[in-house]
Subunit: 369 residues, 4 copies
Amino acid sequence: MTKDPTGSRQTRHELSDQAASPRFLASDNTSGICPQALEYLLAANRGDVPAYGNDDWTARASNRFRELFETDCEVFFVFNGTAANSLALATLCQPYQSVICHQLAHIETDECGGPEFFSNGAKLLSVPGDDGKVAPLDVERMVVRRRDIHYPQPRALSITQSTEVGTLYRPDELAALREMADRHGLKVHMDGARFANACAALDLPPRALSWEAGVDVLCFSGTKNGTAVGEAVIFFDRELARGFEYRCKQAGQLASKMRFIAAPWLGLIETGAWCTNAVHANAMARHLGTGLEQLGLTPMFPVQANAVFVDLPAKAQRYLKDKGWTFYTFIGDGGARFVCAWDTSKEAVDALLEDVRAGLAGVGMQSAG
Amino acid sequence: MTKDPTGSRQTRHELSDQAASPRFLASDNTSGICPQALEYLLAANRGDVPAYGNDDWTARASNRFRELFETDCEVFFVFNGTAANSLALATLCQPYQSVICHQLAHIETDECGGPEFFSNGAKLLSVPGDDGKVAPLDVERMVVRRRDIHYPQPRALSITQSTEVGTLYRPDELAALREMADRHGLKVHMDGARFANACAALDLPPRALSWEAGVDVLCFSGTKNGTAVGEAVIFFDRELARGFEYRCKQAGQLASKMRFIAAPWLGLIETGAWCTNAVHANAMARHLGTGLEQLGLTPMFPVQANAVFVDLPAKAQRYLKDKGWTFYTFIGDGGARFVCAWDTSKEAVDALLEDVRAGLAGVGMQSAG
Amino acid sequence: MTKDPTGSRQTRHELSDQAASPRFLASDNTSGICPQALEYLLAANRGDVPAYGNDDWTARASNRFRELFETDCEVFFVFNGTAANSLALATLCQPYQSVICHQLAHIETDECGGPEFFSNGAKLLSVPGDDGKVAPLDVERMVVRRRDIHYPQPRALSITQSTEVGTLYRPDELAALREMADRHGLKVHMDGARFANACAALDLPPRALSWEAGVDVLCFSGTKNGTAVGEAVIFFDRELARGFEYRCKQAGQLASKMRFIAAPWLGLIETGAWCTNAVHANAMARHLGTGLEQLGLTPMFPVQANAVFVDLPAKAQRYLKDKGWTFYTFIGDGGARFVCAWDTSKEAVDALLEDVRAGLAGVGMQSAG
Amino acid sequence: MTKDPTGSRQTRHELSDQAASPRFLASDNTSGICPQALEYLLAANRGDVPAYGNDDWTARASNRFRELFETDCEVFFVFNGTAANSLALATLCQPYQSVICHQLAHIETDECGGPEFFSNGAKLLSVPGDDGKVAPLDVERMVVRRRDIHYPQPRALSITQSTEVGTLYRPDELAALREMADRHGLKVHMDGARFANACAALDLPPRALSWEAGVDVLCFSGTKNGTAVGEAVIFFDRELARGFEYRCKQAGQLASKMRFIAAPWLGLIETGAWCTNAVHANAMARHLGTGLEQLGLTPMFPVQANAVFVDLPAKAQRYLKDKGWTFYTFIGDGGARFVCAWDTSKEAVDALLEDVRAGLAGVGMQSAG
């Protein structure tokens, strides 16, 4: 994207220097294509097939999603998460309506105005909430505080599962949000950038965390789960999907060689890798969280999926970066985020923990380990 | 994308029934990933790298583009052609401005309003023109016919190289358009969905058909040239590129795993496949065009790149479709479009010609062959 | 708006030099506020009233519209015609849909991309048509020629009554268009910039040219009919009006002092001036048209409402402009447009005719008068 | 706008029941046209003039603005404040950029997403701040906290003068904001819904609170100052105004009968009413504020312009509403807002104070008066 490989124009927060492969924990999108997705991608590369999703791979993948979710949902593939979330919200909202979300929601903090762009002006109304979760009463508060036409009509509730801080909504929490949404005529959108991690962590089938729990449209990430590119937008309320294929086309989200998005997804589902990848990433995060606690560091949020947030002294952070670890830091408050992926190894986590121990020692902090 | 693999919702024009691999001539986007692009994709899959284009593959690919174009251009990768063209035009135009283009231009006929969507309202002013090419005087006519504020200010000229009907602009034709553009303060955008085919056909280096010929921004297609996904947007006027990375991000066109777009492009360039693929596709189109002429059929436009347009009797078209050939037809006027790709074989073309001969015979038409 | 009173930046086509009052025939928007509208405006200026349309004047005006149209329609006031038409179309269409209209429609030629802007990308598909009128079969042709997702889904038919060239749709013509619209799932929008002139000319009540004839939403101009500012957007299909008040607010079309739009409208309706103004303007146009014919000039279109189009030799046009007449000319083809308003006097028309005679004589043309 | 004159769909917050004229203190937009503006409006109604701002009234008004501001600024008239602010911000920002403003700013709280709509997605980044004012360090904090492409690039600072809570920025405060804006490449927009009140209160010429203090573009309200409709958008950085007339046209903000916006503005300036109206309104607010203090009620913010905010017991509020007073209340915290206008009489304020006294007595509160 840029001439300069340090690429400051595209770096989010303070990204650590890049180093040898195993030291990437900044996000689950630094990993490559998992073997199962790759196998299907290569299989799909034989010969010619119709473009724009009129091929068997796309049909098969769509049908597999319906089996996986145990319902006759509508499935669309788009290129990335910004587009998936933004197009889904643009479908739910008119430009003069609004979306209620957590103040840490990716759509609010990290899409550079994507939802506002795709919807042509729908406003995000953000609420605080413990552990990165939206509480039903805060949803209601945003709806009822204004009823006049100068205030953009609340029309959708957007929640992230697992959340931006690596926590989870349980089915009963989702049900309570759905009930509140129904009370106020809101549609429910789920940003499932790490939906697989949620299913794996809660040991629940996809249906239990989506349509059974009241989700109208789910954006399910393949990229973070092990593919190269491509997210699934899944409408459980099929009426909402009307015209969505045109919306994707116009917005530059219709892949001509769709098979290369669909086939890897099919691989994830047919081999079960969508789940085993998540199980592994979650386990690595738990291992890291436990290790950090043993070093006397209390994670900032419960480690429930594949992310670990922890307060680290600045010197310790510097030490880790000098060692080549990548992770996001939050300026001003010492927070560090580590995300595990399908390819994060136990050895890497152990090495990180060892370096954390050394980094802390260097700053004169006692470890409990 | 849809449950039904025949996918009528996504079919453009009348797409013939799909069949065994070698019979796909509807478009160059039915082909798969070429070996060179695939080799680099696989190489790029080793280990973790930074996301969002802050990786070495992206830096290397960008630099290779600068070498290929022999100038210090700005290079960005986006997912597909709709996005590439629409984002480039949104950069050139304010919402109240307009884009002059050929009435057959893809941005006018086949983007479902994409340019209007991304630019938030910039209008396309289309002009006729022989052989799918815009003539300088028609550009001027669109500029001078109105000067009032009720008419969207012309701000960009968009041309397609090779054109939508498989013809070519020569460098002197491009220079004449540039001169006219300068006279009226227009920026020049080139839709290079088949730019490689133009370079190959004219045996000219990329610079001669882009910045040397006055192009400000080129959308260079990788997908049609042999990759799975991803187009390059190349700004020769670097000032125009300011902020484009944000524009891409907001519009859902920033790949997190950018290496999987960049590396295949690097493969195309480093191995020269970007050109050899095009040379091959052009040769196959020429072979087809010549063969059709020998059957007494005159192509509707000069066969200069990788597409062949020809009038075929309806019964002959039906015969070909029954034989499993895919091609686009133009309702009402009997026109058929055949497009050759990097993987179109001489055997396939010969087989098609044989079937055309038989199909024509079936409708009682004499062939000259 | 600009420092320079000749204001070339804002002039449409070639506007003649401005001169003493009676010589304005460029458009019906050069006239002022008619007495009846002014009387109500002044009455409405007594004391304070609630803002944003929550006042009695707005309620009364809205109810009077319901009486005038003899149906329980939804009525909204916006500031001008660009906004009225664009917001109405944005309500009918998603960004990926399209509007079929005449190629001379104001929304296509004179809104500077307004409909595309408000709708965030809906495309206008324009058709030719005799006497500025859309023919049902041309509507169908635009719908059926493409069915794929690369083509923006036709969703609305927009017609102008009276047309841009001063002609009229009869009720049976409107009914035929409605039937075609129903066949293809299109909503019907009417640009009623000169709707009053149509009612007056056809001597039909408003219902007969709107909802009875199948119009879903009508944009009824007050400005051209005698007010200072403000158009009525009238939804006969009330379901379509849902949320329209928010749409207006967001788009900068909610007047805080709404009474100053509503009261003059009320004046037009309660006094009958909406109709008598139109009757007068139409009569003046007929008088002008007849006079031109007597001079040997055949109007380019039937003179059915308040506009007259006629071919005038360039020298005659120059003569008229030197005499201070304002009118629009159409570059390159010698056409001149004269529009009569509520305040156009018979004396002015006679003076114009006299000057036309002199101007023609000056260019050596025989007059039949 | 609606059939029901109580018009709940359009009511902001809890608007009190409407009553006889003098009891309107909800906003300065419930007042009518002041005599000076009306006189010019009537004068402008003589005869025909060119449309779209190509008339003498518009030229004269524009020139008067240049004299009033003592600089060669660019002046445009639009219909209302939502449009003025939103179009100005759309001019300053690309869709992927952002605007820093106070969390109480009208553009953030009361435009129903207007700025996001007109800019096609520019995000508002709101900051807290004492007395409704933005502090320079809070501007900096919003700029420096993120530098990555996932965060919409801060590009403009928007401030309101007088503020939403009736306070004022002094010239030195504006200068400090300008300095911070320059440090971070921000343009400065001023929402001057009550700019006249600020000039009057600080007894400073318009230049001292606009371009001399670093404002790039000012939206100066006529409606709240005594006209029927129409705001002036004034660019002191003339380069920023390039193409703004097209932007207005496309966005439905170009009045055909522009004289009826321009002439009343000319009246306000030539007669000095723009200032005397504000002086009067400010004096009435001061009188109200002082009176409330004498009743033992401390205004929530310093009363510096024409608005008074005060905590009132619910029963007292109810008492006032029963007496027919209109004012905005802020649900949940007992706050009430009273705004004085050019036509607010001392008698009305005294009557209000008397009713407040009675209302408070009814709830058993001691008054100091």
